[in-house]
Symmetry: D2
Subunit: 388 residues, 4 copies
């Protein structure tokens, strides 16, 4: 089969986009009419995609308003959600109404770190151990080497993980408003080059990554130690609200929580929550995030209590929420509009966005959780239906 | 803040879409110009989204051609990938070139099951055990009750998982070309209603789901027992090809595999692969899949060997690949075009699509893996860059 | 250094035992006076140990009486516990008093399987899949080959687990009163030899075990699917008893349970219980079990509820309790006495013993759990102390 | 049923031991003749057991000599193993012979920490976060409060783990030659009392432990961050030795390692090794360790390589090896003799003992691993047999 047409110069152009659509049609007989219908300027896509040929049109609906009492996000927000799954926007909206009437969702970013974890191999474990000590002693030099590669990223600390004669260094960075995966790769590489140049004893093998980061896949390590932002969203629902809006009781929700905890433990699940991934994915697509990070961001913890007053305290913790308001797809046409609707464009807005995502997740888990309990779950899917 | 405008009738219309864009602009000062630029007919979105307001334009690039020797997918394919992450399409294309020159990727769907796992609680463990036996004895009646709700879904078997006085029944269905989550919820509900009506002893509590499924989150249970399709993609790369195209050797790749296995085990990762999520997400967005299922689909296993001839056998196994070629977003404007490019529209094409996804994942893991080994990884990101 | 003395004939004798003690003293200057003080007849140890040189004297204390309402264990039991950890026997006794006054512990063996999981490798995943189907079709022949090697073990079913071109067959057996690890190894080997002799297509590689069993180490697979006995112990504690004996309330215990569940999930623990391992180990040492199986048997689940009456329902589930009342160390001098005290010697007593172990674990978790809650934990260790 | 006889004073005496044996016989009809045969002085058992009634006689065999090149253990050792599992001592001895002829096992203790993890609950996540910062600022005061309770234990650092409005502080101590669980409980309690007395803002709830430690059960957290000693044992086996003694090749062992890694990952096992638990348990029983810690100590990692020379590098890493040469059962009659044989009695010997355990584990995994590969495994069990 023929190669996909490309040009070295000016590949992100209307012409090349059309050329490739024509090529695909010629090769497969399928016209990319809708895919070719877009308004994003092609030249803005350099750095975001190769072989640009058109766009996927993902429907966006707004949920809300959602009321947040965050450290960074404060007030009411209309939340853009890009999805093709019927019921989703309606269900999140229902949760947002519930929390709004309860006075809003409290959100807190409690940790922040993006990482790259190079691995060093030695003759034996004793040499690996000595290397570990040396790295600790030379942290400030390594940090200087890392930080010199970026005006934004800052090395926070280096965790060490050891097995056999191998030692992984998990470089933790803060990355400003960027998600930072590439930033920290480059910075870590520079740090490792400094190490390789200065370590006075032999190193058998070095590689910039060997699955301890862990990037684009969930790991328990990340849930323990954070990848991206660690965010908590909390709400206390007055008993009456639960009854009126969710058609169940705090006791029924709490009972279900016990079963769900046990089910998650038995299944070996990365989350004891309901469906963090749904809200996260819809926000990620709408807002120009790296959607593949749903793999990591969808893990998390739910914790609930019945208060002495009989109200329902409910919280979600997302330990590896990887978000950006700068770089990646955040500056693109529709994505930037959606970020702007949330007031999350420009310097210093990433924690605000993280709080909005966490609050959204909380609302969605409350809504689905109570639908399951009150047996409205299957029927609402029947009503709002999926396209068949 | 004001409520988002809705109408009971005709809510999926150009007018209501415009009304909501105007509303958002009035409320937030942000014009949704690009978001309002789309060609998907609004009325086709009923059942896919509520409060439809416009679209996210996600850039689509084609990778390939990719050569597959599957049971369902055969020949060469241009693979549509929707992403905003620079390098991604180029990297997957590089892997596709490699495997194409090696004679193509062999793919096999080795298992197929979508599930819902209701939970039943009893007075004590002994009554739960008796219930379990009764369910086994009455499987055919339960199956009939389930299957009566759907012309496509077929109950395959019911796994039982027990703890304390609780018993989860994990209903496994095949679902034709649909992903089937809603189909199996409805069918399982019917099965449970039959159980509740016919079980001759007391049941303390029943709920249709309690986190053992597990839906929209990874679980070890799903990796063991499949959710969606379990697909394997394999290739044997002649040594010369590895050297020529990937600029490294089978031995170097294999050594890195050992480190990556160890890193994944230490991290407690859900995958010992490199970045399954990237390819899956890009295909899911382009092809109208439920992108939130990246949470489950991104987990998996990589297995490699050096053959006696010195070539490199490499495989990926995706145990919970949730895909559809019917229902959900598969029929929408751009999504359907992309599925059609792959020849994956219409009856009986879901396994073909599953094989294409798995082959794509394999190509991407080969490309990133060898870039890490040959130290071309950071530099290629620098060159193709991200948008900043 | 010199070789340890052995004789081909009569190595399990008082003389050889003495010879080896003399040898150790000569080599190291340490007299094995106490180690040489024992009453177990040396000749009974053939098949239990090589190079027999003496015994470890592990102190045995009795806890109880413990009241059980089991299917196999009924009535009151004095429980022999071999330990060197102060407080342990007292703490378990306290829990036994509590449950005795609550009317006893209800126990149920809800599953039973011992396994060996051979692995078969093929040219590719498609051939591995075909093999899997063939194995299902020939189950009865494979079963016959397995069962022919043992008068006790019975093949129950064969689970299949697949990745890449590899396929593990997890042979599940029932083993009468034996733990059965060796029995199932031998039987599975025979089954595999039948397969190798009869499978009509090529098999690239076969090995009797490759870590999927999993033997002598915990795995999530075993927690899901049982290794040995899956046993549940349950009790409902009247509120007054909790206050009187445990000096706390059901609400306080339940609150702590929530924290403990969350802690276990965050830690990635194999158990959300308190210290199953303590009681299991003490019983295993006293009663001639394979103590290394603490690795598997110590995992488990705790589930609790406050009843509508305000009482405290509490349960433990041990999914991989590996026990025997026949074979291994069960027939040895002190071990057999302790089994006899429990009425667990002779045919058909293994489930009785399993229930006693589970009930003991429940009593210990109640005791420690309430000590933590009522802040009596550190102080009781101070009082009953450890040897320093 | 009657209460077990006890006296407030002098309960650890020959008389009370006899009284209880008589009581058990009267109640159950079973004479504890062998159990009553012991030489350990009763009065030495105060602090080790309550209701002392006799001893379990666990057969001890010596394996070895084993050659170690450790930082703390150097030279050849006869290793005492207490077990009732036939083949075990012989198999470990075989592995010791192999490594001895290869020049010995290299061992390194690479980390050391014993912990208690109290939990603090707050009004919300923001207050929990503020608390975390305060704890960091007041570390030296907390440390002083902890260390004042013990002359041996030293607080090393406090890890923080946060979810919802909860915060766990994981206090890491070094504990000299003791295992230290009780030492750190007492010290952590003192540290927490200092916190409670000095923290200027409200704390909703405090508890000394809530399953994050994790004690007497494996957790991924412990594998990542060490509980007890983190020890590595390594050896490089000349190819000829593998062939001569193990009847297989480095390539065959390495191939099996690949399958075993994959099996362990699929099973969700806490170890990719073969049977760490066997050697650890036998040494723990013989040497007065807290045998219940097999639950934690049996987890670990195996890493292997074929060297450029074609030899076989093999290593085991035990991340949570909980050992003591002081306190607990280490001073008892037979236990102390066995520790003395290893030269592990008295001050500063705990790392030596840790290295011996790790080297033993390595020898056992080599022996079983090669038996599986060379298909001698089932047959050796048949020959040396288990008692039936």
């Amino acid at each position: 089969m023929a190669k996909i047409p490309r040009t070295k110069s000016n590949d992100h152009s209307a012409q090349m986009s059309q050329t490739r659509r024509d090529f695909i049609e010629a090769q497969t007989g399928v016209a990319l009419t809708h895919t070719g219908h877009y308004s994003v300027p092609e030249e803005t896509l350099e750095g975001n995609i190769e072989n640009f040929t058109g766009v996927a049109q993902i429907p966006v609906g707004f949920a809300g308003p959602m009321n947040i009492n965050g450290e960074h996000a404060n007030g009411e927000f209309y939340v853009p959600m890009a999805t093709t799954e019927g019921t989703l926007v309606a269900s999140y909206s229902r949760g947002m109404r519930l929390t709004r009437e309860a006075g809003g969702v409290t959100t807190t970013v409690i940790d922040d770190a993006m990482q790259r974890a190079p691995m060093f191999a030695f003759k034996d474990a004793r040499e690996a151990l000595a290397f570990g000590s040396w790295v600790k002693q030379h942290f400030s030099s390594i940090k200087a080497a890392c930080n010199a590669t970026t005006s934004v990223g800052r090395l926070r600390d280096i965790e060490q993980h050891a097995v056999s004669k191998l030692r992984w260094l998990r470089f933790n960075f803060t990355c400003g408003d960027a998600a930072g995966q590439n930033m920290v790769s480059k910075a870590t590489k520079a740090g490792c080059e400094w190490i390789m140049a200065n370590y006075p004893a032999p190193i058998d093998h070095f590689v910039l990554a060997a699955n301890l980061d862990t990037d684009k896949k969930h790991s328990h390590l990340n849930s323990l130690h954070t990848r991206g932002k660690r965010v908590v969203a909390e709400v206390t629902l007055p008993r009456q609200l639960v009854t009126d809006i969710m058609h169940c009781t705090p006791e029924a929700l709490y009972k279900q929580r016990q079963y769900s905890n046990m089910g998650a433990m038995m299944a070996g699940s990365v989350s004891n929550g309901a469906h963090f991934a749904n809200g996260i994915t819809a926000l990620f697509i709408a807002c120009g995030q790296d959607v593949a990070n749903v793999a990591e961001s969808s893990a998390g913890f739910t914790f609930a209590e019945i208060t002495p007053q009989g109200d329902y305290y409910f919280s979600v913790t997302i330990p590896s929420l990887i978000v950006a308001t700068y770089g990646g797809g955040t500056g693109l046409a529709t994505q930037n509009e959606c970020l702007n609707v949330l007031g999350c464009s420009g310097k210093g807005s990433v924690n605000k966005f993280a709080e909005i995502v966490a609050a959204t997740v909380l609302c969605g888990d409350l809504s689905l959780g109570s639908a399951v309990v009150s047996d409205e779950w299957v029927s609402s899917h029947e009503r709002l239906g999926r396209n068949r």
